[in-house]
């Protein structure tokens, strides 16, 4: 108690600032972080145990010995790597295509007096309110009838189709906020619509595009429901469906499933750490107009 009184005079501003950051932040955040991370640690622990150890002593027991059997089992046969490749392919194609298309749509809707543009935008947004479950059967039927059922192209197409409404809506909000004077200046300089889009709109929209790209990547990569709807061949399954495939009808090799789950989580984790900043801003996109 006495020390603070002694140094009170000079140290006060410094101490106040420190008190503002710590210690409550850490008192609350450290246990919260541990609680947040604990399921992942739990999965990691299961992945490193042998099946007999888990079966004999339960899922919750501490490992009796560590082994990489789970990872060996997960990669056995190479199916997991093929699935990872499928996922990366669909995700990359899906993100690029949906952002390209929706940025065109958003540019047109926000900068040109297209008749019924409000209605178009509302329909796009309304489409996102429909739960995907009710569209499963129609989508399966449509892909079958146009002959693209069971192809990665169909999966990419569905992902683009279902993402585009939301991305357009968000980008429209952003592009509408760009100052009209810039566009006038560009037009006075003789720039056409395509040139304005490529040299003005795209560079200016980079923050929101990056944010949407980060979100879209995780959404498409983590999707399972569409993959199961439009795909039938095991060799075309993305990682999410391949993971589900590791579960048996009656029994499961828990260590293999845990190991494969960790492998499947790596790409999204990498994307998250690269785009960390955009993720946060992505959640705020459109909120500051």
């Amino acid at each position: 108690m006495s020390a603070p009184v002694l140094v009170a005079g000079r140290a006060r501003p410094q101490r106040r600032r420190r008190r503002g950051r710590s210690p409550w932040l850490h008192v609350v955040m450290v246990p919260l972080t541990l609680a947040w991370v604990s399921p992942i640690l739990f999965v990691l622990m299961i992945a490193l145990r042998s099946f007999d150890d888990i079966a004999g002593r339960g899922l919750g027991a501490l490992p009796a010995s560590l082994t990489l059997d789970g990872f060996v089992g997960a990669f056995a046969g190479g199916g997991l790597l093929v699935a990872l490749g499928n996922s990366l392919l669909v995700t990359a194609a899906g993100v690029v295509a949906s952002l390209a298309l929706s940025s065109w749509a958003a540019y047109a809707l926000s900068r040109y007096r297209i008749p019924g543009r409000k209605a178009v935008l509302l329909v796009m947004l309304a489409g996102n309110l429909l739960p995907p479950q009710i569209l499963l059967v129609p989508v399966a039927q449509i892909t079958q009838s146009i002959g693209i059922y069971d192809t990665l192209f169909a999966l990419t197409l569905v992902q683009v189709g279902f993402g585009i409404g939301f991305y357009t809506f968000v980008l429209h909000g952003f592009m509408r906020g760009l100052p009209e004077e810039m566009f006038e200046a560009a037009r006075l300089d003789g720039a056409g619509a395509a040139r304005i889009y490529a040299q003005l709109v795209l560079p200016l929209s980079r923050p929101s595009l990056a944010a949407l790209a980060a979100l879209a990547t995780t959404w498409i990569f983590n999707d399972l429901i569409w993959a199961l709807t439009v795909l039938r061949s095991e060799t075309k399954f993305p990682i999410t469906a391949a993971l589900l495939n590791l579960q048996g009808g009656y029994s499961s090799q828990w260590n293999v499933i845990a190991a494969a789950s960790l492998v499947a989580a790596v790409p999204t984790a990498v994307v998250f750490f690269i785009f960390q900043k955009q993720f946060v801003s992505g959640l705020l996109v459109g909120s500051n107009k």
Partner: protein, 430 residues
């Protein structure tokens, strides 16, 4: 790679029409695997085999069997629950998979009634692959119109499983009467052991195991099957009798059963904390490898000796989509899967205590557990499958809801049964 592709392309173009003729000439040659296989490998691409068997060892065994087939077969494995959801889509597709793994009995019959399944009657006559199978299996594989639409390749049995070493340790013996069984539960309880393992959390259908067996033992198989077919009501006094016995078992169940799935529920058994487990023979996969030889079982004891004995033995196998563009090649592949050699290879490889459907398989090489299971099923008077397979997945959902609620609060028995009956009527009505 490119040369083989172009060669195949040429062959395909050239032999496309010819193959159809060749194939039809093979009709009637019984399990004509050789002829059918060779002819069609030139014309119509590989057969597509949609598989729902995902448990590690059985899947590996099946993959090996498929790889050993003379013709190229594309095998797609899909997780069982998703497979269940997608099955109608598969069968209705304009280009459906040729061969599909699924269940015999009412589930297959329902698809056959919609005209979605290929008639495989010729495999069941003459020297067809299934001709020698038992009458019970034939009946199980027959659609309402009298045609066979299913090829059963293996089945397993349900019983009360326990570990011999644990029973020795506790100084108890397998019971032979229902009273002895209840006394055994009481005894184990007194020793601080959980008498009955169970896992009805993520796998609520496990609660139907005891319901099925109590109904079979109290009211008999005829009543049980009629009840599941909607001919009796779940509010009948017969069903109330079943629930009364079920209620007597509740204190003996694992108190954690509502949070375990079927597989987790076996951990207390492995640790000698639980004594017995009414479950399918797949339980052997749940235990650590060094405990599997210790596993033994006894049938649920007789309660009412006026009704015929019955055991649950879910039958697995394959059917084919009626929309297949290569019916002869499909049947040839089904014959291959049903052959005694492949059944034997599957059971040995799967290690999950399955039984062969073919009488030609020599059981003496299987584990003592499997032989005892075979003996049990050979000595019983009736064979049923399981709640969902004797009725439908939709009715199973009503059973899951009713039994889970009953087990958590048995005092609500009568209202649970009324709700169950109402839900069942909606299922049968639709």
């Amino acid at each position: 790679m490119t040369t083989s592709l172009s060669r195949r392309g040429l062959l395909g173009a050239g032999a496309g029409l010819g193959a159809a003729g060749l194939l039809s000439s093979c009709v009637g040659s019984g399990g004509g695997g050789d002829a059918g296989g060779d002819a069609s490998s030139g014309g119509g691409g590989p057969l597509v085999f949609q598989n729902s068997i995902q448990d590690t060892a059985p899947k590996a065994a099946l993959e090996q069997i498929v790889a050993g087939y003379e013709r190229e077969v594309t095998m797609n494995s899909v997780a069982t629950e998703q497979f269940r959801a997608q099955l109608t889509n598969y069968l209705r597709a304009s280009d459906p998979p040729d061969v599909i793994s699924w269940y015999a009995g009412s589930v297959a019959r329902a698809y056959a009634a919609e005209g979605l399944l290929l008639d495989v009657s010729d495999l069941w006559t003459g020297d067809g692959a299934c001709a020698g199978f038992s009458e019970a299996l034939r009946e199980l594989s027959t659609a309402e119109d009298g045609k066979q639409i299913f090829v059963p390749t293996n089945y397993y049995w349900w019983s009360v499983f326990y570990k011999r070493s644990a029973f020795e340790k506790w100084g108890v013996e397998p019971p032979s009467t229902w009273d002895e069984f209840l006394a055994l539960c009481e005894n184990l309880s007194g020793q601080g052991v959980i008498p009955l393992a169970n896992g009805i959390g993520p796998t609520p259908w496990m609660a139907s195991g005891w319901f099925d067996y109590l109904d079979l033992r109290i009211n008999g198989p005829e009543y049980h099957l009629a009840l599941l077919a909607g001919e009796h009501s779940f509010t009948d006094p017969e069903v109330v009798d079943v629930m009364e016995q079920y209620e007597r078992l509740i204190p003996y169940f694992d108190p954690n059963m509502a949070s375990y799935d079927a597989q987790q529920a076996a951990t207390p058994l492995a640790q000698d904390e639980a004594g017995m487990y009414l479950v399918g023979a797949f339980v052997s996969q749940y235990l650590p490898e060094d405990q599997r030889d210790d596993l033994d079982f006894f049938s649920v004891p007789v309660i009412n000796d006026a009704v015929p004995t019955a055991e649950e033995a879910p039958t697995d196998g394959f059917f084919a989509a009626s929309g297949t563009d290569d019916p002869e090649g499909t049947k040839a592949f089904l014959s291959y899967l049903a052959s005694p050699e492949q059944q034997e290879a599957f059971i040995t490889g799967a290690g999950s205590s399955n039984l062969p459907t073919s009488p030609e398989v020599d059981p003496s090489q299987f584990s003592p557990l499997v032989q005892k299971g075979l003996e049990l099923l050979n000595s019983t008077e009736r064979i049923t499958q399981f709640f969902n397979r004797d009725s439908s997945d939709a009715l199973q959902t009503t059973a899951d809801a009713a039994l889970t609620k009953f087990l958590s609060d048995p005092s609500q028995r009568d209202s649970v049964l009324q709700e169950w009956q109402a839900a069942a009527e909606r299922v049968h009505g639709s």
